[in-house]
């Protein structure tokens, strides 16, 4: 083991420690410092400061060496991350390179990561829907996983709380499957999307096409201006980092807010190795890190610890935090740590064309698109698969130029493109079922470059997913046909699990400490001063994008933790 440097002096002691500075860790840091706690934020990656560390954000298309295309060298060296649609010449600096942070694929799993201050909040697609009671009561009703220890009502005020601060655009749609939030003005529809919305509404009473809810500031409120953030300028190159703070990221929002309190110490380049458990005290006392630059081991201490390293990494940290009391990972009395991992299924899609509305087109760009909330198995089980799927939807008009010929005629044609017809498309976002056989574990032999055991990932689709894919393709084909779309093509790209970037579970919440890791406050049943509020804590996965829920849970959990701490309960 690396040099052990145990100097338990006041310098290394804080009120709270947050592990990870991504979407959930940023919220934990903001809330803890906001409540006056001296908080240490440990982040394994480098520091990325808002605007100044976005090197490509102002680059014009012609300024990129390869006009955005990845080089062969990068692609060959990074077969996994190169599959991510958001990884290109202008954004590659924010993604983990395959060789630098190895893991073991017991089954194929594309693990998409961002290791830096801000985590994946820099590159995410910013879709933010609340989960509903259909999601929180799902396991109890359908009999998969275990019952959630919370319901929508527990989270609703916290959704409102984080939405107001983060800045969420959307429309109040009044749907029970997708509760409304505190919205800034919605993005605009285009005519073909409107057409589809109307057609679907007229043919199905339980299916809805709504404008997407996304973490973009369409109309800044005082709280956004106080963060130094302004109105979204519709550049749609968000994954390079937004100089206006137009979308929510830890870098533009929660981390600088926490810093302003004067209570936060941010320590980048600090790879958390494990959480320290004191058997005499019966509590966690701190965190062991490996300094990424010096490879030295160090310890930091605190009263409470928030683990926010992103779903699978939080599993890893807990699995690697062993002691006599917890030989199988911190808090793992139940033996479920690392198990019941689930994810979203983005495999299927559909595209078509529309020959109407040819007298109109779009202008400008929109960093968002319409959304179709789950409509399958909502009020009753009506199919031969469990749960359901939501879908993205969008329409646009292409412009094409005649590229035949050579010389002056060709040039003339290139500069005078013709408007093509409208194209429409959708992709599925299916809920997968948490199963014991979908798990992560530590590899016994192989270590990462910091000497930490590598994570072994064993996750796969099942029959339920295959049935759901088929149903999505059939139902969407029916809806597209009803809307008069033609040339309909369905696809299944057979992508590996993971590429949806919504992995969840392994440290699940539950009512019973025998079958879950965390209680209703995201608190380890067995170690009361450790809280886990990222995706690892999800009992099941819903069909909605998850990050808004991580934010709300983080804020809620900190509120509880600090109150409990003041009462001497943790």
């Amino acid at each position: 083991m690396a040099n052990l440097n145990i100097d338990a002096n006041a310098q290394n002691t804080y009120d709270a420690i947050v592990i990870g500075s991504g979407i959930s860790g940023g919220w934990a840091a903001k809330e803890l410092t906001g409540k006056g706690l001296r908080t240490l934020v440990l982040e394994r990656g480098r520091d990325v400061r808002h605007v100044t560390d976005y090197p490509t954000t102002m680059m014009q298309p012609w300024e990129f060496d390869h006009r955005g295309q990845l080089t062969k060298e990068v692609k060959d060296a990074n077969p996994i991350i190169s599959k991510c649609y958001a990884f290109y010449e202008g954004s590659q600096q924010f993604f983990v390179k395959d060789a630098e942070h190895p893991y073991i694929q017991e089954k194929p799993f594309d693990w998409i990561r961002g290791y830096q201050v801000g985590g994946k909040s820099l590159m995410w697609a910013r879709q933010t829907q609340r989960w509903s009671d259909f999601d929180f009561t799902g396991p109890a009703r359908d009999g998969f996983a275990v019952d959630w220890p919370i319901r929508y009502a527990d989270l609703a005020p916290w959704y409102s709380y984080v939405e107001r601060f983060a800045g969420i655009t959307g429309n109040k749609d009044g749907l029970d499957t997708l509760p409304d939030g505190e919205f800034l003005p919605p993005h605009e529809w285009n005519c073909v999307e409107k057409h589809f919305q109307k057609q679907v509404a007229s043919k199905y009473k339980d299916r809805h096409v709504i404008m997407g809810r996304a973490a973009h500031i369409t109309k800044p409120q005082p709280v956004h201006l106080q963060q130094g953030r302004g109105q979204c300028q519709h550049r749609t190159i968000c994954e390079r980092g937004c100089p206006y703070g137009g979308y929510f990221s830890s870098n533009s929002s929660t981390i600088p807010w926490a810093a302003k309190t004067g209570k936060m110490t941010l320590r980048p380049d600090s790879v958390v190795h494990s959480i320290i458990y004191d058997e005499k005290l019966g509590r966690a006392t701190g965190v062991r890190i490996i300094d990424a630059n010096t490879k030295q081991m160090k310890e930091y201490y605190a009263r409470i610890i928030f683990l926010n390293a992103a779903a699978l990494n939080s599993n890893l940290v807990l699995l690697n935090s062993t002691s006599n009391r917890f030989p199988n990972g911190l808090g793992n009395d139940s033996g479920v740590l690392g198990k019941y991992v689930a994810f979203h299924n983005y495999r299927a899609g559909i595209s078509a064309q529309y020959d109407g509305n040819l007298d109109s087109t779009t202008d400008g760009r929109r960093p968002n698109s319409p959304y179709i909330p789950r409509f399958r198995n909502v009020h009753k089980q009506e199919t031969d698969f469990l749960r359901g799927y939501a879908a993205g939807f969008s329409a646009g008009r292409s412009s094409r130029s005649n590229q035949e010929g050579i010389g002056a005629d060709l040039k003339q044609n290139l500069l005078n493109p013709e408007l093509g017809g409208w194209y429409v498309g959708s992709h599925m976002m299916g809920e997968t079922i948490p199963k014991e056989t979908n798990y992560v574990a530590l590899d016994k032999a192989q270590k990462d470059p910091f000497g930490i055991p590598q994570l072994k990932i064993s996750i796969a689709y099942d029959d339920n997913d295959e049935k759901m894919i088929k149903d999505y393709q059939e139902q969407m084909t029916e809806m597209f046909t009803a809307a008069g779309f033609t040339n309909i093509r369905v696809r299944d790209d057979h992508r590996n699990p993971g590429l949806d970037i919504h992995e969840m579970g392994g440290v699940r919440m539950g009512k019973d400490s025998k079958t879950s890791m965390l209680n209703k406050w995201n608190q380890l049943h067995a170690v009361k001063n450790v809280f886990v509020t990222d995706g690892s804590s999800m009992t099941s996965t819903s069909t909605q994008n998850p990050s808004l829920t991580y934010m709300a849970m983080s804020a809620r959990s900190v509120d509880y933790a600090v109150k409990a701490m003041k009462k001497g309960l943790v």
């Binding site: 300024e63 990129f64 109105q231 929109r366 040039k411 500069l415 005078n416």
Partner: protein, 171 residues
């Protein structure tokens, strides 16, 4: 906090100081004579009119860079061999290197490549033509002066009427 909602934010100095020079380094991938040949091919595909040609916009340098950095070995070989074949063919049909041919001769030669029975010639031509078009349309000159690219449109309008467009100034 003093900040306009409309995006009038002061950016750090470096943000507006990017130039093609600081970003684009040119590889010595082709010999200077092959480079010149490629430039002349690009110029034949997109010639100067009352606006610059692909060669004047240095599209050939971009093509080289993309082929060198983004394509695999077989495509790179196809590219190099294709260049040699163009000059060889020029010697055969008009008795001089491609560079010395007139516009009609060059155009005829490339058109012949585009319809060639030899797959390598056809593929070479479509590779170079595709990259020429991409490089041209994505050049600073074209994007700023002719197609009026806006990095920061600031809006999205979903339903605007299609207007009959004035034809661009090029002839």
């Amino acid at each position: 906090m003093a900040m306009a909602a409309g995006g009038l934010i002061s950016l750090p100095a470096w943000a507006s100081n990017w130039t093609a020079e600081t970003v684009g380094l040119t590889h010595n991938y082709l010999s200077s004579s092959q480079d010149e040949l490629l430039a002349n091919i690009a110029e034949t595909i997109i010639p100067a009119t009352d606006t610059p040609s692909a060669k004047e916009l240095k599209v050939h340098q971009l093509i080289q860079k993309i082929v060198a950095d983004c394509y695999d070995k077989p495509a790179q070989e196809l590219f190099r061999n294709g260049l040699d074949a163009v000059d060889a063919q020029a010697q055969k049909t008009f008795g001089k290197p491609f560079r010395e041919g007139d516009v009609a001769q060059r155009t005829a030669l490339l058109t012949q490549f585009s319809q060639s029975a030899e797959p390598a010639q056809k593929e070479f031509y479509s590779l170079v033509k595709g990259l020429t078009i991409r490089g041209y349309l994505n050049s600073e000159y074209v994007m700023t002066n002719l197609t009026h690219y806006q990095m920061v449109p600031g809006y999205y309008h979903g339903c605007v009427p299609v207007v009959a467009k004035a034809v661009s100034p090029t002839k």
